[in-house]
């Protein structure tokens, strides 16, 4: 079938059809990105925390802008080449365009990767610490040790290293919800326990009632043959001979788990089946009891209206009746509702530390509570072993620090009508509880001096207004945030500080404001300078920790949404343009004008992708 108007224009529109199509699509894209940009604007205007201004490295963003603009030029050249029927030229320019798309994505990938490599911690006093989390390892003796790198942790021979943003808990018992227990987490706990030569076994005998289809007597006992004999044998062991008959009425899917059974997910699954069967039985039984009650109530109070009968026929009255058994152990009257067991309790023998992701945790874990609740309703508890070292272990977030940021703390202080600097200097980082407080006091002293100099410099340069206030003052970021780039200046000078205007300051000052073009992290000397003194933020001071991912704050959420969606557009565009480059020689031979039109359409989309980036770059990187 011939598609109409792909080469020549329609008379009424004056356009070939696919051009109208792409513009309709681009108009919808304008709305899509428009909506997201407005999302950015409102998130920023109403942010209740200091927006991370100019937080991204400028240079990669700048290169990416050049790359996209360059590719926009080459894609029109590719189109022009087709118009002039120069296939070779088309190949070259289209090739460059696609290479540009690849380069853009590589740079974007590097940028994204860095976000996942950096650790941020928000403390309970709103101080923010950025850096690289250290690695911890659980040694053979059950002690936990911290190392700067994963490699060091591995060499120390303490099993699988973990990032120190996790929680360490030495449980005496773990209770799993039979319904909600999450298989991967169980697998993870089993693996860790296995590595530490510890076992997880049921702490007591548990019996799960199953679905008892008919409760009237042993004749309809659903357990038959071998299964029945097996079950009976177990139950005899558990409840003794006297209860033998009673045991036979526990029903289909009933389950007996003796103490000391090792944990595996299959066991939980069986228990879940039994629990659900028991619940189904209870539901049916309650309905039957209620029906029976209604029947009786109607007999007793036939003249009453149903709303007067209803309170009498309530279900609880029936279920609370005591069970009556005959001498065969058959239930002859009373409640048929069985008790449900919804948790399976396991003992950890011997108790060993488990590394728990903070994202598993349901609510903050406090040492004094002696337990940790996970989101799948699993509870790790220290039980009576708390004296023997069970419970929450010291789980500090240990990091090599890149920056300390007090902007939020300052904001909170101002809201409370306090002097920000005083609040900052009384905070945990500068307190005796922080074993590196001396280093941080030193840094802060140097930093304050530098800010004083900057204040002076700005006042001298731009003068004061009528009220005598300086026209320009250091920003909040200048005042309340210290980064490793700042430290590079101080440390290289081998003296207390190096100020703007001092000899040598300008060559040390990173070329770009936020310092990406500053010293390379691979440079050994710089690497040393890069590192702030370490910090170990105690567990109870951590109010939130995250990589620089959407979870960290709304800035990163909208950053990843916008750039991620834009990146997908780059990939999509590159695939389409790549198709034109690699699979369209035949079409070029048959109908070059058609291919030229196709490339024009692909090019229009590509320009749009460029256009979106032209806005993304300043708002995300420069503002």
């Amino acid at each position: 079938m011939e598609i109409p108007y792909t080469v020549t224009a329609r008379k009424d529109t004056g356009l070939f059809n696919s051009k109208v199509g792409i513009w309709l699509f681009l108009a919808s894209e304008v709305m899509l990105f428009g909506g997201l940009f407005s999302g950015y604007v409102f998130l920023r205007i109403y942010a209740d925390y200091p927006w991370p201004e100019r937080a991204l490295p400028i240079v990669p963003g700048l290169i990416n802008t050049f790359v996209l603009i360059g590719s926009s030029v080459t894609v029109v050249f590719a189109w022009a080449a087709l118009k002039m029927r120069e296939w070779r030229r088309f190949q070259i320019f289209m090739g460059i365009t696609i290479a540009c798309a690849g380069m853009f994505m590589v740079l974007k990938g590097i940028e994204y990767k860095a976000k996942w490599e950096h650790q941020a911690v928000r403390m309970d006093d709103f101080a923010i610490i950025e850096g690289h989390a250290h690695y911890g390892a659980v040694m053979e003796n059950g002690e936990v040790d911290h190392f700067h790198t994963k490699l060091e942790a591995k060499k120390a021979g303490g099993g699988k290293p973990f990032k120190t943003n996790k929680i360490l808990f030495r449980p005496a018992t773990i209770d799993f919800s039979v319904v909600r227990a999450h298989e991967p987490w169980i697998a993870e706990m089993l693996e860790q326990a296995g590595k530490r030569k510890s076992k997880l076994v049921t702490s007591g005998d548990v019996f799960f009632y199953g679905h008892i289809e008919d409760y009237s007597g042993t004749e309809s006992d659903p357990l038959t043959g071998k299964d029945r004999a097996k079950q009976e044998a177990k139950i005899v062991k558990e409840f003794g001979k006297a209860e033998e008959n009673l045991a036979r009425k526990f029903g289909k899917n009933s389950l007996y788990i003796p103490a000391g059974t090792p944990l595996d997910y299959g066991l939980i699954k069986k228990a879940r089946k039994a629990y659900i069967a028991g619940r189904a039985h209870n539901a049916e039984t309650r309905t039957a009891i209620l029906k029976e009650n209604w029947r009786r109530v109607k007999e007793i109070l036939p003249e009453k209206e149903y709303w007067e009968q209803a309170p009498v026929a309530k279900i609880d009255a029936a279920t609370q009746l005591d069970e009556q058994f005959d001498d065969q152990g058959n239930c002859v009257s009373g409640s048929k509702v069985v008790s449900l067991v919804s948790t399976l309790s396991f003992r950890m023998d011997p108790p060993q530390p488990l590394v728990i992701k903070r994202s598993w945790i349901k609510r903050p874990v406090k040492a004094k509570d002696g337990k940790a609740e996970l989101r799948d309703d699993t509870t790790l508890s220290a039980g009576d072993d708390q004296d023997q070292g069970a419970g929450l272990l010291a789980s500090p977030v240990a990091l090599s620090v890149d920056a300390i940021d007090f902007r939020w703390m300052a904001q909170k202080a101002e809201e409370a009508g306090k002097e920000p600097m005083e609040v900052i200097e009384q905070s945990w980082i500068f307190s005796k509880d922080n074993k590196h407080h001396g280093d941080y006091e030193q840094i802060w002293k140097v930093h304050k001096k530098r800010i004083g100099e900057l204040e002076q410099e700005l006042a001298d340069k731009y003068g004061k207004d009528a009220e005598g206030k300086p026209k320009r003052v250091p920003t909040e970021t200048d005042r309340y945030r210290v980064t490793w780039q700042d430290l590079v200046h101080y440390a290289r000078a081998k003296k207390d500080s190096l100020m703007p205007g001092d000899a040598g300051f300008d060559e040390l000052r990173p070329k770009f404001w936020d310092g990406f073009a500053g010293p390379n992290h691979k440079d050994e000397e710089i690497h040393k300078l890069h590192a702030f003194p370490e910090l170990e933020v105690p567990h109870h001071k951590v109010s939130m920790q995250s990589m620089f991912t959407p979870k960290w704050n709304t800035y990163y959420a909208i950053y990843f949404t916008l750039t991620g969606l834009h990146g997908l557009h780059v990939i999509g565009g590159a695939i389409v343009l790549g198709y034109f480059l690699f699979f369209s020689k035949g079409l070029y031979r048959r109908n070059p004008e058609w291919l030229a039109n196709r490339v024009e359409i692909g090019g229009l989309f590509w320009h749009f992708v460029d256009l979106v980036w032209i806005f993304l770059f300043p708002i995300l990187y420069l503002m």
């Binding site: 529109t13 004056g14 356009l15 051009k19 109208v20 513009w23 309709l24 681009l26 108009a27 919808s28 894209e29 304008v30 709305m31 990105f33 428009g34 909506g35 940009f37 407005s38 999302g39 604007v41 409102f42 109403y46 201004e53 100019r54 400028i58 700048l62 802008t65 050049f66 603009i69 360059g70 926009s72 030029v73 029109v76 050249f77 022009a80 118009k83 002039m84 700005l458 731009y462 320009r472 003052v473 250091p474 920003t475 970021t477 200048d478 770009f512 404001w513 090019g603 229009l604 320009h607 749009f608 460029d610 256009l611 032209i614 806005f615 770059f617 300043p618 708002i619 420069l622 503002m623």
Partner: protein, 125 residues
Amino acid sequence: MADTLEEIQKAQKKYILIGLILFVFTVVTVAVATVPWLDFGEHGFDSKDAVIGLIIASFKASLVGAIFMHLNHEKKLIYVVLVLGVIMGIVLVVLTGWSFEDPIEYGDSVEGDGFYNPAETVNQD
């Protein structure tokens, strides 16, 4: 639309020129944001820097639209479609803004500015 070969030949020089202008203005926008003596308004980022940055970005975007996407000489239908898209985009922005003006009061707000603020909430116990 550059239709004839001569026109296309001629247009190529224009494309290079526009590309260069875009490069230059990219550097300008970075310079405005990073070089101290080009810092407008207050010291550091502020609304003036935002406006300047967005003006430069809009200028660059309109160059891309007008020249690379041939919007300087397109058929009427394209403009209709695009303008409708832009209007709807603006509507989306306004609607988002509108949601922030929601007059519903939450809780027992004493100040009654319409926004929920736990600190303002009166404890009725």
